[in-house]
């Protein structure tokens, strides 16, 4: 899949380039909600297993997503490619004067996608598009556990995982054109399909699982996405 996707993307782009009216390049600053149900179960298990009381002080909250994209504009529809960078994380914490315990998870994703938009309605100068994208999402998960007693680090460990999964996103985009650029607002839903196991980079062959159920943990990026974009049109 990782090898096929760039070929498909290159084929689509080169095929469409000759027919488009303009090239739209833009950047979207977005955010979203992430299910991360498997990783959250790890946090819950950590809290349960600790002999002292602790709390999940951060549990994969929405965070900024960065999306550059290039679309070929054919008037009422558009095709192109998009790259998305997401990151979020969590923390289980407990601290008193004798020491501190932390269990941090930080996850990042890189997802290149093919995207297509089709105009649904025009309200004056405001135009409404439906978009759909398909691509892959590569995730890096870092786990870091630390126990500090009286200022000395007495225990700890760092673990790294990677996962790969196909990904798609569908939603709506509202476009408000200005003289030199367009302003856009998007709202959609990201969904992962298949694959998505977290494979250990420090212990080959190990796959992250739910400590409670023993089932594999996979994917987790599913959820609503929202963002605002600035788009510049380049004449071809």
């Amino acid at each position: 899949m990782l090898k096929i996707f760039p070929i498909i993307a290159l084929f689509v782009i080169t095929s469409l380039a000759g027919y488009s009216q303009s090239l739209d390049a833009g950047f979207q600053l977005g955010t979203g909600f992430y299910s991360m149900s498997g990783l959250k179960s790890i946090n819950n298990e950590v809290v349960r297993s600790l002999q002292f009381d602790s709390e999940i002080v951060s549990d994969f909250p929405p965070y900024f997503a960065y999306r550059p994209f290039i679309l070929f504009n054919f008037g009422s529809y558009k095709f192109g490619i998009r790259y998305t960078f997401n990151s979020t994380g969590s923390r289980v914490s407990s601290k008193d004067y004798s020491g501190e315990y932390r269990f941090d998870m930080k996850i990042r994703s890189h997802s290149p996608e093919l995207i297509g938009e089709i105009e649904l309605e025009t309200f004056g100068i405001f135009r409404l598009f439906f978009y759909n994208s398909f691509g892959i999402i590569l995730s890096d998960l870092d786990q870091n556990e630390e126990l500090e007693i009286l200022g000395d680090m007495v225990a700890g460990g760092r673990y790294k995982y990677k996962s790969f999964s196909p990904v798609g996103e569908s939603g709506f985009t509202g476009v408000l054109p200005f003289s030199k650029f367009d302003a856009e607002v998007s709202l959609g839903y990201l969904y992962q399909v298949g694959y998505g196991d977290y494979k250990s980079q420090t212990q080959p062959g190990m796959i992250l699982g739910d400590p409670d159920t023993g089932k594999k943990i996979s994917r987790g990026w599913n959820g609503f996405r929202a963002g605002v974009s600035l788009v510049h049109h380049f004449k071809i």
Partner: protein, 625 residues
């Protein structure tokens, strides 16, 4: 224009790329802390030392030391105590109290640091409590010194006649007390505890100078005992020594004891081998420590030792089987004047008022009493043709003028010596085939009888000067033995069933007198060759040889025996029951009565009176004035 527009587009693209990279660096970072509802005490935890028997900063490790500890804390629960030696784990105890042993065998020699670390738990259930507790480092450090060659010693001196002991102070603070022992052997066995004390010194009022070991043991507060120091006392019982003053008077003296105040009495004794008395014979007993002299008025011979024995005033440690500890011996003491250096001697012959001859198996020596040295000698091997000769018999004339030595060998040799000059030797052979007798009396002229030992035996009058037979006298009596000849060669004592006095003249032996009772003593006079002295056991008489008529006679006690007559001083020596008596020859008056331990009988262990000296054959003489 187109180029300008293309450049602007590239510039915009680069700006967007940079902006995007900047945003990528702003990825999510977990944050937030959950603070548990536990408040830290404002003051440090308080550790109370209930017990810790490391009471000084520096601890010398001489034996296994049990370190007892006990800690408590109001703030913390102490669940483990760890001991670190030179920052390395040494021991631990899973309790706030207990004991651990510092074993010098497990610690290398040198200086080490000991640290105690308490592992505690707070009573608030902190995070640290769940992960091994709150380590509280006990701030105190100790220096542990293992010195296997630590020098300890006991010193001693005396003041006011009593022993003072002091020893190296035990440097640790865990001393319970010292234990002072006295040991009867240098191996430290048979120990008797004297006392227990805190000070490192002790005054022993009982010690009298005996050869013992003092041992000090240290008892620590944890009940351990180990030897701390010891000293082997050299033994300072006053040793008797012999002193002789300018007049030849002899004394036994000894030094004043350094421990006189502990001594009840002093006993001076001697022990002789082959003497008259067996066992120790006490010479003197005194309680006066300054009475350190004994005047020797006796003739003491053959002593194995002189002994000073001290009796302690406090006899609690005095045991009969340990008597030797309280004695000091002078071995092989010799009183009088010794001339033993060439001995042992087989016979002694006075040859002048001041000189005598003594012989060994291979030499003949002449000794001058006045010069107190040997003045002449002749070796058997120095005789002609006698590379391996030994002296067999030595006899001297009554006056001592002539000495006759019989040297047996392949060719039997007689040597007639001039006693005044031993180098004046006449070698003689006796060519008599019918045997010899072992005793060869000789006169001042060098003549003497040689007895035949056959049934047809004869008496040969032989001249050793010329190796010739002067006369062959058919025997008139059976089985004669000639035992003495007068210095003039005219008279002989012969012996068969009786002792007989005979005269040799006109080539004949004429019987003068037959002693039906064998006299206790008989001797030809050295001063007058025609006189003889006889002691029949009651009366001593000086008689003419020619007719056995009495010149003078007197009675002396019947006990004992006359040993010899000194014709030069007209005195004779009698011995009886541990006494030497010197009598005047003129009337028998006793001029000296001298006690002795000598066991004397006639013919053996002989001693001679010579010029107011009693000379013993075994090599010593005594002045009797």
């Amino acid at each position: 224009m187109t180029k300008i527009k293309s450049g602007e587009a590239i510039l915009k693209f680069c700006f967007l790329l940079f902006f995007f990279q900047l945003l990528l660096s702003c990825e999510f970072e977990p944050s937030g802390i959950y603070n548990r509802a536990i408040e830290e005490s404002s003051s440090p935890p308080e550790i109370n030392i209930v017990e810790l028997n490391l009471t000084s900063d520096t601890v010398y490790l001489f034996s296994g030391k049990d370190v007892k500890f006990s800690f408590t804390s109001t703030d913390l629960t102490i669940y483990e105590v760890d001991f670190y030696l030179d920052d390395s784990f040494y021991a631990s105890a899973n309790s706030s109290s207990g004991t651990f042993t510092l074993d010098p065998l497990s610690i290398s020699e040198g200086s080490h640091s000991l640290q105690i670390i308490l592992l505690t738990k707070s009573k608030q259930q902190t995070i640290a409590d769940y992960f091994g507790g709150t380590a509280y480092t006990f701030s105190k450090n100790w220096v542990i010194i293992v010195d296997n060659d630590y020098e300890t010693e006991i010193n001693y001196n005396n003041s006011d006649g009593i022993l003072n002991l002091s020893w190296t102070k035990y440097p640790n603070n865990d001393l319970k007390n010292y234990i002072l022992y006295r040991c009867l052997t240098i191996y430290g066995s048979n120990k008797t505890e004297i006392t227990r004390l805190d000070a490192n010194e002790y005054v022993d009022p009982i010690y009298v100078g005996e050869r013992i070991r003092y041992e000090v043991a240290v008892e620590t507060q944890d009940g351990k005992q180990f030897t701390w120091a010891y000293i082997d006392m050299p033994g300072e019982i006053p040793k008797p020594v012999i002193r002789t003053d300018q007049d030849g008077k002899q004394y036994i003296v000894w030094e004043i004891s350094r421990y006189r105040d502990a001594i009840k009495s002093y006993i001076l004794s001697y022990n002789a081998v082959g003497g008259l008395y067996y066992g120790d014979v006490i010479l003197k007993t005194t309680i006066d420590p300054e009475d350190t002299l004994y005047v020797v008025n006796s003739i003491l011979v053959k002593l194995s030792h002189l002994k000073m024995h001290v009796v302690p005033a406090d006899d609690r440690y005095y045991k009969s089987q340990d008597y030797y500890l309280f004695e000091s011996l002078l071995s092989d003491p010799v009183f009088g004047t010794s001339f033993k250096q060439n001995g042992p001697y087989y016979s002694l012959k006075p040859v002048s008022p001041d000189e005598f001859l003594v012989n060994t198996i291979n030499a003949l020596y002449k000794y001058s009493i006045s010069d107190n040295q040997f003045t002449d000698k002749i070796l058997a091997t120095s005789l002609q043709g006698c590379s391996s000769c030994l002296f067999y018999s030595v006899s001297a004339s009554s006056s001592g003028a002539k000495t006759l030595i019989f040297v047996p060998g392949l060719q039997e040799i007689f040597c007639l010596l001039n006693s005044s000059d031993l180098s004046d030797i006449i070698y003689a052979t006796v060519n008599i085939t019918d045997g010899h007798y072992n005793v060869y009396p000789v006169s001042d002229q060098g003549t003497g009888p040689v007895m035949s030992n056959t049934s047809q035996g004869r008496i040969y009058m032989y001249d050793y000067n010329t190796s010739s037979i002067l006369d062959t006298i058919e025997r008139s009596f059976l089985d004669y033995e000639t035992v003495k000849i007068s210095s003039g060669g005219d008279y002989l004592f012969l012996k068969d069933d009786f002792l007989r006095l005979a005269r040799y003249s006109d080539h004949r032996l004429n019987l003068i007198y037959t002693f039906e009772t064998y006299p206790r003593f008989f001797e030809f006079s050295a001063a007058n060759p025609d006189q003889v002295v006889i002691w029949d056991g009651e009366t001593v008489s000086v008689r003419n040889c020619s007719d056995y008529s009495v010149i003078t006679a007197f009675s002396i006690p019947a006990d004992g025996s006359i040993l010899n007559i000194d014709f030069n001083s007209d005195e004779f020596l009698r011995y009886s029951s541990g006494h030497f008596y010197v009598h005047r020859l003129s009337d028998g008056t006793i001029t000296h009565d001298i006690m002795t331990n000598a066991l004397v009988w006639y013919g053996q262990n002989s001693c001679y009176l010579m010029g107011h000296r009693i000379v013993f054959t075994d090599g010593q003489f005594f002045n009797i004035d």
